[in-house]
Symmetry: C2
Subunit: 639 residues, 2 copies
């Protein structure tokens, strides 16, 4: 369609593709004006983000920057060499927020902290307070664990966000100087660069692509490509943990530390987009499928092991010890979005939707003040929490505080993951009340999704007499939908997840999509041993769970759901800020006392008595753990 004028300003967010990028789709603009995500984003903007600087101050992160700048005295504070990234991620989040809404107080805090960062940078561009203060400046001696390039990566991402949002150069200058320094240090043997190395924690790779996009400086893209290529050659000892066991293009499965794997894969997708490399693209498609088929929890959560934060084996998807780090959910959204743009396929946004609503959003409390680092699918009766960062209980802040500012930055840039465009028109990936658009078209949407399934679109701006296609993602979970254009109901075919409505549009045209939101029982592949004989309750994109608070009079571990009885929907404006619950029929088993040994002969036991009927109330997983501590279950036995 011909270019006319800017119906909606071009999006300010991550993944700003260059004009040369070879992707099926390009990000389109969107705004979120009301509804589910608006509420959570408002809490992010009003509570979580403003509290950031105080938390970074009391945890010592800002103090470390002042120490490195020589403007304060004392000892380095914090337990990890990557504590600077908490600051950078907060700066990135605050920048995306400022791109949407003027906020003088927030802008002043950003200015202040940007100045702290700039002052801590060393003359040659290097910046890492841990190594400057604790390690006597001994750089790049411990790439396996030092996180120096990881820190550089988050600094670069913050700087790009700050520049895109404010147009100001201060932080971008710091980032470029650091990137130039890295480019002078790292390279292949024979390149004349002193070091051939990679960081144990990928992140700098995707950041460098973004810096290339922001500055047009191709050296940064090449450096990103070098780092991606050098993983898997044993430079760090060959561990899967560090993404160093196998070269990425030869990998057949996701492995090792989940966040590291996912950040590396996001970078590979960025490179495939900007270079057009087919092998890197097919690597991403292959590994994404391996991940979703065998290593993804129902919530979209990723990572089966607490130990080494590892993906685990195929179909190893434990409930109570699911790791499902909040950061892994965020990284999964970032990677899937890049694949969605590369390929144009709806499935990537299916996973994004599931992850956003469940594995990601559970990471922050309704009040925006307490966090989960790990996101289990079960907390047992009698659970004794060992505390610490990996607790199944919400925590005000963490010693390793990677997740909270990561949540803040995704919430503050969420509108960037909702829509795309191509030559044919506009694709709507996620449903919100707000607007979607390009420089030529604007569509308004109203919905109470995910509580209700109706989404009403109104075309507000459109080129006259020029047909284009409005594509709506029909979610993978959806078994039945209706769509009306004006007064007519159409039975459109769904093309691999996309409902494509092609016509010459007129301002005021309305399209109403109705996704039927019946609650449903979900099973699992039989190889998922952890949930054999169980079902989960879902409704729309939401996974539901039982919480102890709704089931007094006993625990949850002896509850059985009756799958033959209908599920009922009950909207509860009183509960947890207003949620739709699913009510199911179940019973509480009466388990006979078999003495000291809990393993009876299979055939020899008496039949179990019926047990007491219990009405089960399943609340959406993203709002769990917002009341008193207690047990929780996603997967429920059926017999």
């Amino acid at each position: 369609m011909p270019r006319t004028r800017s119906a909606l300003p071009s999006p300010v967010g991550p993944v700003r593709l260059t004009p040369d990028a070879r992707t099926a789709l390009r990000p389109a603009a969107a705004t979120i004006g009301a509804g589910f995500w608006h509420e959570r984003r408002t809490t992010n903007a009003r509570v979580s983000l403003p509290q950031g600087p105080d938390l970074l101050e009391s945890a010592g992160n800002l103090h470390n920057l002042r120490l490195a700048a020589g403007t304060a005295e004392g000892e380095f504070r914090g337990a990890y060499p990557f504590v600077d990234t908490d600051v950078y991620k907060w700066l990135e989040a605050a920048s995306w927020q400022l791109a949407q809404e003027d906020d003088e107080a927030l802008a002043a805090e950003v200015d202040r902290i940007v100045a702290l960062v700039a002052a801590a940078q060393q003359p040659d561009g290097y910046l890492n307070t841990w190594f400057q203060l604790v390690k006597g400046g001994e750089r790049y001696q411990d790439l396996r664990w030092g996180h120096e390039l990881y820190c550089a990566g988050h600094l670069i991402q913050a700087a790009v966000a700050h520049h895109r949002a404010t147009g100001r150069p201060e932080l971008l200058d710091v980032a470029r100087k650091f990137a130039d320094h890295l480019d002078s240090v790292f390279g292949l043997p024979g390149s004349g660069k002193p070091l051939d190395g990679i960081d144990g924690h990928p992140e700098v790779e995707t950041a460098l692509v973004e810096l290339y996009r922001e500055t047009g400086e191709r050296r940064y893209l090449n450096l990103a490509g070098y780092f991606v290529d050098r993983h898997g050659h044993g430079l760090l000892g060959g561990e899967a943990y560090c993404q160093d066991r196998v070269p990425l293009r030869e990998a057949t499965d996701v492995e090792g530390h989940a966040v590291r794997q996912l950040y590396l894969l996001a970078a590979a997708a960025d490179l495939a987009a900007e270079t057009g490399e087919a092998e890197l693209r097919s690597t991403g498609e292959r590994l994404w499928r391996a991940m979703t088929t065998t290593k993804t929890h129902l919530t979209g959560g990723l990572g089966a092991h607490h130990d080494k934060e590892d993906f685990g084996d195929p179909y190893e998807l434990p409930n109570e010890r699911a790791y499902c780090e909040t950061c892994a959910a965020i990284a999964s959204v970032q990677w899937s979005w890049r694949l969605a743009l590369l390929t144009g396929e709806a499935r990537y946004s299916d996973l994004i939707e599931r992850t956003l609503f469940n594995g990601f959003l559970a990471g922050v409390s309704l009040d925006g003040e307490r966090w989960l680092y790990v996101n289990p699918l079960q907390v047992r009766d009698g659970h004794t929490d060992t505390g610490g960062d990996q607790s199944a209980r919400r925590t005000r802040w963490f010693r390793c505080a990677c997740c909270p500012p990561n949540v803040m930055r995704l919430l503050a840039s969420l509108q960037h993951y909702l829509a795309s465009s191509d030559e044919q028109g506009l694709q709507i990936h996620q449903f919100v009340t707000g607007t979607y658009g390009t420089d030529q078209v604007r569509v308004r949407a109203e919905t109470d999704y995910p509580w209700h399934g109706t989404i009403a679109f109104t075309v507000e701006e459109t080129p006259a007499d020029s047909p284009w296609t409005l594509s709506l993602r029909i979610p993978q979970w959806c078994r039945e939908f209706r769509v009306r254009c004006g007064e007519e109901t159409y039975d459109f075919p769904v093309d691999d997840g996309w409902l494509r409505l092609s016509r010459t549009w007129t301002p005021g045209d309305r399209v109403v999509l109705e996704l039927v939101l019946e609650p449903r029982l979900t099973a699992a592949d039989p190889r998922v041993d952890a949930v054999r004989g169980c079902v989960a309750i879902e409704r729309g994109p939401l996974v539901h769970c039982l919480e102890q608070a709704d089931h007094p009079g006993g625990g949850l571990d002896d509850i059985v759901l009756d799958p033959s009885r209908p599920l009922a929907v009950k909207h509860r404006p009183d509960l947890l800020g207003g949620v739709t619950t699913v009510v199911a029929a179940g019973r509480r088993r009466r388990i006979p006392d078999r003495g000291w040994w809990p393993y009876p002969t299979a055939s020899g036991s008496d039949p179990e008595p019926d047990g007491e009927p219990v009405e089960l109330t399943a609340v959406p997983y993203p709002v769990w753990a917002n009341r008193e501590d207690g047990s929780m279950r996603v997967w429920l036995p059926t017999s």
Copy 2:
């Protein structure tokens, strides 16, 4: 019965109760002359034990002792402050071995290493090479992690074993000097001792009781009591990991690091035995029942979490991520044996049997050269092992090499856990080919247990005209047994696990016990989520498992057992040194490809096709992982 003469020498082993000890039973002597355990103990004596000094040399443990003694130069080697204990546990194992059999080469090695230990001791009795060499001698600054008293404990146990076995004083002198030093340092506030503290890893407590038993010095018993009492008062920050969350007498469940909990409980049982304290005894009984009812794997393995080596929550008993540290199995045997002696109840030896045959013995390979630190109940198809100490693959030695010498010391002292006596007579807890006896009676036993269920006892020595009771433990797993005395078959009642045969015996009297060894399918308490819908195959005391090696043509994760078809027994002299396998009928599922998302709607999926029939061969769990690497399963789905 009146004392006559020594029918069997009094036992040389751990838990040599003082005459004042208030227990229901006292350890009786036993020898193991042939059969299952004899073979494994022969490998221990001929392969594992003799290789110890070389392994300790190449890992640096002996080098560290020479450094501390000032007779060598170089750097401390090893990653942990407790590497000395590997030496001590080897010395203990070698001492128990020397108590049974003359072995000049082994005795010479013991002499050499005892001298190294003695030379490394500081003048005031302190000894820990890590603190002496790495920490500049800064003692007791880090009781939470320093393991100084833990090391003292293993030194003391080695010294007691060495003294009991050889009668020689060298190592006992070292241990006493260290214990005296500890007694001068640690005590309650107001006691005049400089430090009120405990070690993060219990072990010194049970060792001090044993030192009291060996020396008669009551100060050691008191110091053990002080350490036990001071756990749970927050001296180490109150963590369950360090057994510091709750005072032991108030605990309602086992918790925290499994080995630490179990060593502490062994000490509590020792104290209850020697002091007669009822509260400490009932604490042990209560916690043992909590452990077996809700936190014990079918193999007797303990510890559900890799992270913090923690017991986990009630009924949290994962398969592939079962921790089940070999040391925890050993500690469980030690604790249960003390409770068996305290109470006289058979259930404690039921758990010992199950643990010895499964969760413990799997820790060492058939060739005695390779080890498992963790003992999972499943290795998945497509398992990618991350290596290291906590690998699911056998390893030659570990960075943290606590398990191998611990296995050696239990195998070398195994005969000490087989029999007991009281005023009424002799109790036989475990069945071996060999002799059991006291200073008055001797009974010979012949059996091919656990491959066959017949155990033939012959009374060899007995007081004339003085009746006494031969008590045989009827294992908890046993549903049917027969017993013959001479030509008659009797239908004796079983008294809480004991079959009690009381009469006036004559030398040559025979008792033949036949335990019916039908293979069986075992289920689990329905709260054990990890094995819902599964059964395990057992036969006698042995848990069985499927290994990949016996099931070519596919993996194990899609195999289903048909519980309606009979189980068959097949003795396989060719396999794994000769084992009895159980053959079952099953099938390999044909799991439809459901696309990228493995969670279908529960009611909407097509019925699964039948799948291909497979004959399942279940080998005993203690011999798993002695062939090529592959998948393994204990629990098998039935539909």
